[in-house]
Every structure is written in C-alpha cells, then in structure tokens.
C-alpha cells in the first residue's frame, strides 16, 4: 500500500477554504484566490491540496472546484461535519495503517518514539516530526485514536489515562 503523508494543515483552515469557495458559487481561479486572501501561493496550494486529500475539492487546470462531498460538508452541522470527515480520513492509507498498528498493539502502549519510527518506515521521504503532529491532530479530530502528551502515548477509543 502506498502511503502519502497526511496534510500538515489544520481542519479549520480547510473548512474555511471550502466555505469560502461554496459562497463564491463553488469555483475559483487558484492564483486569484491567493491574491484575494493575501496568502502566499504556496500556502494557498497547501490548503487546497489538503482539501483535495479529503475529497472536498478538485483542481482542474488552474481552478479549484468544490466537490459534491465538499458541499455536503459545508451544509452539515458542526457535529455532522466531523462524522463526514472521519469517514474520509478512515479511508486514507496512512491513517488506516496507523489505526491497524495501534489495534494490533492494543493493551501495550505505543509511545511517541515508536510512532516516529513507524512513520519513518511508512513515509521515508517525509519529515517524521512534522507528520507526527498532523497524525496526532487528525487522529484527535476524527476520534479514531488519541494521544496523551503527559504520558506521550497513543491509544484507541477513550483515554485510559483518564
């Protein structure tokens, strides 16, 4: 299975982008969008790529277009949005592999160090530290797994640390 790094972009920015585009009728020129937001083009592209990874938008030519799934997320309530995005995240190969890894280790603690090693193995060309923080934040957002920064360990489902 090919593992792509998770987007290192927060969910709020991604949702903001899709909401903005939906308000503009669902389509915008990427270069124009970056100018309008006073954001660097590279930064704008990173958010767009993250939204694309989650199936919220696609990018034909130089445009960014909201997918049906993106419109569904925009129209959903705060809690329903989370459920919709959780479903998409669960399908991403890196996310699935990590979830399976945690499930196999269930009962033993997976530490920060062990996760960094696992990431280095799964996505060797990426910065493991940077991917680590997005694994933690996307894991939390989707509630598929959690991380306790006091004990520096991962867990599935409800926290055992309490």
């Amino acid at each position: 299975m090919k593992h792509a790094a998770l987007p290192e972009i927060g969910i709020s920015q991604i949702l903001g982008l899709v909401e903005l585009l939906a308000g503009k009728g669902g389509r915008e020129d990427i270069y124009k969008l970056a100018g309008e937001l006073s954001m660097e083009l590279g930064e704008t592209l990173a958010v767009i790529k993250a939204a694309e990874t989650l199936g919220l938008v696609h990018t034909p030519g130089g445009d960014v277009v909201v997918e049906d799934f993106g419109n569904k997320v925009v129209d959903a309530s705060i809690t329903d949005r989370k459920d919709l995005i959780r479903g998409k995240l669960a399908e991403l190969p890196l996310f699935k592999t990590i979830h399976d890894y945690l499930a196999r280790e269930e009962g033993t603690e997976v530490t920060r160090e062990e996760m960094l090693e696992k990431l280095a193995e799964l996505i060797p060309n990426e910065d493991a530290e940077a991917s680590f923080s997005s694994i933690v934040s996307w894991g939390r957002y989707s509630e598929l797994f959690g991380y306790n920064d006091d004990s520096q360990t991962f867990y599935l489902g409800e926290s055992r640390a309490g």
Binding site: S12, E19, M39, S142, E143
Partner: protein, 254 residues
C-alpha cells in the same frame, strides 16, 4: 427578534474616565444603547476608541464613572455572572487540558462535579472538539484554541455572550470557518445564549455577522452612528448591497 423584544442590556449615558500620570482621560463618553434579547450586535471603531473598556463595563468588571448600566432592568453592580467573554488571545491556561480549561469558568458557579463534567462534554460536542479533551493548548491550532475559548464561555450558559475581537488573531481561512460556526451556534435554538455582542475592527466581519452595528468614534469613544444590517444570511461580500453597507460604515467612521 421581534419588535417588542425584551431589553437585556442597557447603557444609559455611560462615561468612563481613567486617571493616568498625565491627568484624567475620558475613554468612553456619554454612550447610550440597548441590546435586545436575541440580537447579534457588533461594535466597530478604530483602536483606542475604548471598545474593550465598553465590554468590561458590560460584564461588570469595570463600573462607569457616570451613567448607568442596566441588565434585565436592574442597575448592574459588580460582575455580571449572566455574561461570558471570548478573548482575542483565547485566554487559555497552558498547563491545563482542553477539558480543564473549559471547566474553569464553571468552577466559580457550581460545586457539583458531575454537572460540571456533563456541561464540559456537552459544549465540547457543540463546538466540534471531541477527541481533543486531553490535549494541551500548545498542541492546538489557533482555530482549535478559539473553539476551546468559545466552549468555555458557552458552558456557563450565559444569557449574553461578549466577544473581544475573537477572530483577529486567526489566519484568514480559519476565521471564515469560525465565523460560520459562530452563526450556527447563535441560531441553534438548543443553546441558552442567543444574544451576542462582539467588538471588532473588521467592518466586513461586522456586516457579515450582526443585526446591528454600533460605530464608535475615537478618543473619547462616542457612538458616531448605528446601522441596522437588513440583509438575509448567509451574507456574501460580492453582493452589491453588502458593499453599500461597507461604504455606509466607512462614512460613519470617517
């Protein structure tokens, strides 16, 4: 909001002066307005117009030098526990987790630990923070931090929510997202709070969000004008009527 809506908060000829080394300075001068139940009011004005001073008189942290602040028809004395505040820089304690930060405001109001826990969980869900319960502020993006600030304010179930430039330290896309979510929360009839007063220096933000805009003039802060925003939501910046409102606010500020 109905025309005969109940007046929740009223400022009557409120003036606030501060004693500074260079002498006495009037920050707020003769401000009168009413906030009706169910209204979303924004206050715009240049920096130094006394916007934060106004908010602190609304929650009772500061008393007026002259004039009167009334809440539900009663003259306000001391802190008003029916209000809660959301801050620009989130106001989170770094050594506490998300859940503990949200529980903070409840501690002063209820000794019932089970009630506090259920309120924390309820508002964590409302703002979309499930999964982040035991994260620390340092692990969160700005957008998530402000969700914590919002949940903490909502958890005490205030009848009036006060916000001091809540989106101005967030990046542009995150602030779009949080503005939309705030409107969802405001219009959610399940929530206790349906009256909001927000200070902002962003005119477009004021037009996008509020029913009514109070425009402050600078030094001392006085009400230079008031504008009712009569546009259906969601409001779009490309709408020509939206631009007309921007122009009107600018002309009142000038």
């Amino acid at each position: 909001m109905t025309p005969d809506a109940h007046t929740l908060l009223e400022f009557k000829n409120v003036t606030r002066r501060f004693l500074l080394p260079q002498g006495e300075v009037t920050v707020i001068e003769d401000i009168s307005f009413k906030a009706l139940e169910g209204e979303f009011i924004t206050i715009v004005g240049p920096s130094g117009a006394g916007k934060s001073t106004l908010l602190r008189m609304m929650n009772g942290l500061l008393a007026p030098s002259s004039g009167e602040v009334r809440y539900n028809g009663v003259t306000q004395k001391g802190i008003n526990f029916e209000t809660a505040m959301v801050f620009q820089n989130f106001g989170l304690l770094p050594w506490l987790t998300v859940s503990q930060n949200i529980e903070l405001g409840l501690g002063a109001r209820s000794k019932d630990a089970a009630y506090r826990k259920s309120q924390v969980n309820r508002y964590i869900t409302k703002v979309g923070l499930e999964g982040y319960e035991e994260a620390y502020p340092r692990e969160l993006s700005g957008g998530m931090k402000q969700r914590v600030g919002l949940a903490r304010a909502l958890a005490v179930e205030p009848s009036l929510l006060l916000m001091d430039e809540p989106f101005s330290s967030l990046d542009v896309l995150t602030s779009i997202n949080l503005r939309n979510e705030l409107l969802d929360i405001w219009s959610d009839r399940d929530n206790v709070v349906n009256t909001m007063i927000m200070v902002t220096h962003n005119i477009e933000e004021a037009i996008e969000l509020s029913d009514r805009i109070l425009i402050l003039s600078n030094r001392p802060g006085k009400i230079a004008g008031e504008l009712k925003v009569d546009l259906p939501r969601p409001r779009r910046k490309r709408d020509p009527l939206f631009s007309e409102y921007v122009d009107r606010v600018f002309s009142l500020l000038a």
